[in-house]
């Protein structure tokens, strides 16, 4: 069977800096279709039918989010979340590098569907080159009247602005991202109210991950029903997977959801690197679960019933030559640095875990530490303000319960 490609279809075949290349392969056809042959409700219906869900990690149904924002009146905003900073994840960066116009087309259609007249692209501050690529793409698309005043001579108008972040992992969280644009510290806010009701500058705001948005043009062109038949039933479509670590061909691969980790490693990434012995795999970045060899049959999908949350789609394969204590420090130090400090359980918990990880490495672990680990993990999982703290201890806990870390 031919592998279905939605996002990576034209990667490497077109010049990202030339809009003509993208137009030649049928680019912006979905936007034309939407403007000439559809209305907002019709397009929204297709997206709902497709079953598309958020690719940033939480997997919230995109159609539902759009509907809530679209049903409200007054000024509305659309934000493309490109503040990708999960360790091991660079899918959104690749989308900008390889086919920025696909993302742009998705942003324009999505913003028009929800009825926003201003869209922001919130890009990771470190993605300087990607920002430049997007700036070129925006300029080219504006000349062709794909955005701006009276898009393709219709009554639709849309302003798009690139907003560059300033290096904070937590700003990928939607309420923190909004705080950041408003000129505040990038700390998360209490939800509800959700951004869909009270978001940027107090207005209804739809915030979607760049990968989610890149699926929209395909859905508009091919219909929601066709999309809903790809991949797993609960969260249909394809997903970008990033395979790294001890595999033969590390890189980024597009595969249908519902695929098993083993299949991804063996069929896409060329198997385990020669001479290396598989130990475990970490799914979904620093906050992801660890899978042992016998658990590799876990299906990669979103939803409450899934065996292993796929998070951002990154898969790090760890072989037996890796020093587990280094990894412990890497995980805990990451969360210690990136914890925003708003709530005590996260600020203190991540710091203490990091201290314990250092003592692990030095071989100075005490009985008291062993007890404290359980307390800290319990507190992190149950009492932190936002998901950062909730998942900060996931890998640590898995390392203990799955006997990867012995003491």
């Amino acid at each position: 069977m031919k592998k279905i490609k939605i996002i990576t279809e034209h990667w490497g075949k077109i010049d990202p800096l030339k809009i003509e290349d993208y137009l030649e392969v049928g680019g912006y056809k979905a936007l034309e279709e939407f403007i000439l042959g559809m209305d907002r409700a019709g397009a929204l219906g297709e997206i709902k039918k497709s079953g598309l869900c958020g690719r940033g990690g939480a997997g919230f149904p995109t159609g539902e989010k759009f509907e809530i924002v679209a049903s409200q009146i007054g000024k509305k905003y659309f934000i493309c979340n490109l503040d990708e900073s999960e360790p091991g994840t660079y899918k959104d960066r690749m989308i900008c590098d390889k086919n920025p116009h696909l993302l742009l087309e998705g942003i324009i259609i999505s913003a028009l569907i929800v009825g926003a007249d201003k869209a922001y692209i919130y890009i990771n501050g470190n993605y300087q080159k990607q920002k430049e690529i997007l700036e070129v793409a925006l300029l080219q698309a504006k000349k062709k009247k794909f955005w701006g005043n009276k898009i393709l001579e219709s009554d639709y108008s849309l302003k798009i602005e690139i907003y560059s972040g300033a290096g904070a992992y937590i700003c990928g969280e939607e309420t923190a991202l909004i705080n950041s644009i408003e000129g505040n510290r990038g700390e998360p806010k209490l939800r509800p109210p959700y951004p869909t009701g009270c978001g940027l500058f107090g207005r209804p705001t739809a915030i979607n991950n760049a990968e989610t948005i890149s699926n929209i043009p395909w859905i508009i062109l091919n219909g929601g029903e066709k999309y809903s038949k790809i991949g797993s039933k609960n969260s249909p479509g394809t997903k970008l997977f990033l395979l790294n670590g001890a595999v033969e061909k590390p890189g980024i691969y597009e595969a249908p959801t519902g695929i098993t980790v083993r299949k991804l490693i063996d069929e896409y990434a060329g198997g385990i690197k020669k001479g290396k012995e598989f130990w475990f795999a970490q799914i979904g970045g620093a906050c992801g679960k660890l899978l042992l060899e016998k658990e590799l049959k876990a299906k990669m999908e979103f939803g409450k019933a899934c065996q292993c949350p796929l998070g951002s789609g990154s898969i790090l394969v760890i072989d037996k030559s890796v020093n587990i204590y280094d990894l412990l420090i890497s995980w805990t130090d990451f969360f210690r640095r990136e914890s925003c400090g708003k709530c005590v359980p996260c600020r203190e918990g991540t710091f203490r875990l990091w201290e314990i990880a250092k003592r692990f490495k030095d071989g100075k672990i005490s009985e008291r530490d062993k007890e404290a680990i359980q307390d800290i993990l319990w507190t992190l999982e149950r009492t932190t303000f936002c998901p950062l703290g909730k998942f900060a201890g996931t890998a640590f806990r898995d390392a203990i319960t799955k006997n990867i870390l012995t003491f």
Binding site: R93, G125, A166, A168, N184, N244, L316
Partner: protein, 146 residues
């Protein structure tokens, strides 16, 4: 002479600030620019920003101190950063950090993922990014700066 440089700096600050509309959504971009031009956001800069945006100086520092890219203190002449996130860590970034600290007696700042995991380990020296660094290649790179 001292007075003159003070005025020059004041003018540059004003020039940068005037590039932005005085709306809150421009505070972060303005802070980023000032931090990039002067190396950090000092009291004078914060004061000018506070006046322009119509917020207290404490608010300017409140926002500025949160973000990694905006510095609120003078930075060392050579700032060496090495990524220690999981993908770089399994590629030996910890022993690279040790190597630099031992050989050059400079404290290395550990940073989070820059999304270049396929080309790790990543080292950043004064903002310039180096990919696929090794324990031996860091010597050649850092000698240029020392």
């Amino acid at each position: 002479m001292k007075h003159e440089t003070y005025n020059m700096k004041q003018k540059t600050i004003q020039k940068i600030i005037l590039e932005f509309e005085p709306e809150m959504e421009n505070l972060l971009p303005a802070l980023k620019k000032i931090s990039a031009v002067f190396g950090y956001v000092g009291e004078k800069e914060a004061n000018a920003l506070a006046d322009y945006f119509g917020v207290p100086e404490s608010k300017v520092f409140e926002t500025a101190s949160f973000y990694d890219e905006i510095k609120t203190e003078k930075q060392p002449e050579i700032l060496i950063q090495v990524c220690s996130s999981a993908n770089c860590a399994v590629n030996d970034s910890f022993s690279i950090i040790k190597e630099i600290e031992n050989s050059f007696k400079i404290k290395v700042q550990e940073i989070s993922c820059l999304g270049r995991c396929a080309d790790g380990p990543i080292m950043v020296v004064n903002g310039k990014i180096y990919e696929k660094v090794t324990k031996s290649s860091v010597h050649g790179i850092l000698e240029e700066y020392l």
